[in-house]
């Protein structure tokens, strides 16, 4: 089996502060790998480096064996990487359907001139994308909201819409940043199933998630970050017994309790 996504020694600093340092792991096709860690551990920063939004200060990102370190997100999308965001990045004033159609950009975009003139070729491309988007919305249970303005959806629905948009790219690697955050138990389970289904189709999935039950349930492999460093990795059972992990989590819980008290 070939490795789809390989992270090697990835690191970045902001203003002298090390946000992520020397993180390495791999994701195989059809595998769900979760990155967990206390708040501020550098999970989203790691995602932003992998998906080309930040240029890593050190290390390499390889996609299907090719070095893609620091290349721009739209080129990564072309090579089969797709992602969602922790604090939603929805196209607010577009309809739900259009948000999903936007995910088909690489398939539907063609000559600008044809688009201006409304040529049949342009309309065909758009219609095909719309068809695909409708099916995707069906899959994430948003078909009925298709013509609504995306900004008017509930948080959980927006989370699903982002997943649909990311799936529209037909990715080989899918990065999900807290897909279940803010969702109720039923919604979480739905997302849970969806992720498992996508993974089963051979997509490599990298997941950041706070819902530990979900993480333990669906992950094949878990990477634990604390203060930007990888402190443990392994299968769910191994990781949950790791004393460093327990300490990192209990430590922050104690701090949290203190801060809130």
């Amino acid at each position: 089996m070939t490795v789809l996504l390989e992270i090697e020694g990835l690191g970045i600093s902001f203003g002298g502060l090390r946000a992520v340092n020397d993180v390495s792991f791999r994701v195989n096709p059809g595998e769900i790998v979760s990155v967990i860690g206390p708040n501020g551990a550098g999970k989203t920063t790691l995602f932003n480096m992998i998906s080309g939004i930040y240029k890593p200060g050190a290390g390499r990102v390889r996609l299907m064996g090719e070095d893609v370190t620091g290349i721009s997100p739209h080129l990564l999308a072309r090579r089969g990487m797709s992602r969602t965001f922790q604090n939603l990045q929805i196209f607010q004033s577009m309809t739900v359907l259009e948000n999903a159609v936007a995910g088909y950009h690489l398939q539907e975009s063609g000559s600008v001139l044809a688009d201006l003139l409304g040529l049949p070729a342009s309309r065909r491309r758009a219609a095909a994308a719309r068809e695909g988007a409708r099916q995707l919305l069906e899959r994430v249970d948003l078909a009925r909201a298709a013509e609504m303005e995306a900004g008017s959806l509930s948080y959980g629905a927006l989370k699903r819409l982002e997943i649909a948009r990311a799936l529209a790219l037909n990715p080989k690697v899918l990065l999900l940043d807290e897909p279940a955050a803010g969702c109720n138990a039923v919604e979480t389970e739905e997302i849970d199933h969806l992720i498992a289904e996508v993974a089963a189709s051979g997509v490599a999935i990298l997941l950041v998630e706070h819902d530990m039950k979900m993480v333990m349930r669906i992950s094949r492999h878990i990477v634990v970050l604390d203060h930007g460093e990888k402190i443990a990795e392994g299968d769910p059972a191994t990781v949950s017994r790791n004393p460093k992990v327990i300490e990192a989590y209990l430590g922050t819980q104690a701090e949290d309790a203190h801060a809130h008290g």
Partner: protein
């Protein structure tokens, strides 16, 4: 090189005015994230009100004081009536609001006063002073000294007084400032008054040299804006350096290249600076948060 000296002197004079306009931009930008395109109108008002108050028989210093205070009042009104109600509006809307304000102020000025060019006597006569083979008008010294005084005064205000520190804190983080009990609405009012007052002062100082009419504001706003960008938006030091640099650049272009294209040189350099370092000379780099 008396020629070069002459260009440098006139460049610094014009640059001092640009620096004051840029400083006005900076103060308002820091307090409210708004770039106030009506900044040039404050300079115009400073000149025009002084002219008419002086004509009405008031002594020049009193006329100038009235001009500065009334312009500061107009600045506060601008904030209360147009900027605060539009809080949270997109940048395009804010640009149109402040441009609308500038057109409005121009329209009112031309109605209340007139469309003629005006001046009042220079503060210390018109006898040029010889410096290293070049000459400088006494009024130019007033302009430069005025700019220096404003910058030093503001620096003291922002670093040494409690109110000044509150303004600075607000510009750094509005929410945090509010949490520690700073009245940010009041800080906005103060910022607009200060900015408008400084603009008016620039108008008072420079009118004996450049004359004033109801429509001189646009060009000044554009140059001051450019100077602020050159230095890095939101940075008072940047406003000073950007203003002086721009003034020098214009004077040198006018002297050695073509007087018709002196404005062009300024904009060419600004485009170049923005392309090479979009944050200006002293600006902070910002990253999008995701």
């Amino acid at each position: 090189m008396p020629e070069l000296m002459q260009f440098l002197l006139s460049g610094v004079t014009v640059g001092a005015v640009y620096a004051l306009v840029a400083l006005g931009f900076t103060i308002i930008y820091n307090a409210s994230d708004v770039v106030n395109f009506a900044q040039g109108e404050f300079v115009m008002l400073g000149g025009m009100v002084t002219v008419f108050a002086h004509h009405a028989g008031l002594p020049l210093p009193l006329a100038a004081l009235i001009a500065i205070l009334s312009t500061a009042g107009i600045g506060v009104a601008l904030n209360k009536l147009a900027i605060e109600p539009a809080r949270g509006a997109p940048v395009v809307s804010l640009i149109i609001i402040t441009i609308g304000a500038s057109i409005f102020i121009r329209g009112v000025t031309q109605l209340v006063f007139d469309k003629q060019l005006h001046r009042f006597p220079a503060f210390s006569g018109d006898e040029p002073i010889r410096v290293l083979g070049a000459t400088i008008l006494p009024q130019s010294l007033w302009v430069i000294a005025g700019a220096v005084a404003v910058f030093v005064g503001l620096w003291l205000f922002f670093t040494r007084t409690l109110i000044g520190r509150a303004v600075l804190a607000t510009s750094n983080n509005r929410l945090a400032a509010r949490l520690v009990g700073i009245n940010t609405g009041w800080v906005m009012t103060l910022s607009f008054a200060l900015s408008a007052g400084i603009g008016a002062l620039a108008g008072v100082l420079v009118t004996p040299i450049t004359l004033v009419s109801y429509d001189v504001g646009i060009a000044l706003a554009l140059k001051g804006f450019a100077a602020a960008m050159l230095g890095g938006m939101g940075n008072p030091k940047g406003a000073l350096v950007g203003g002086i640099l721009l003034g020098l650049l214009e004077a040198l272009t006018a002297g050695y290249v073509s007087s018709q294209y002196k404005d062009a040189a300024a904009f060419v350099v600004i485009l170049a600076v923005l392309f090479a370092m979009p944050q200006g000379l002293f600006g902070k780099k910002s990253t999008d948060r995701v």
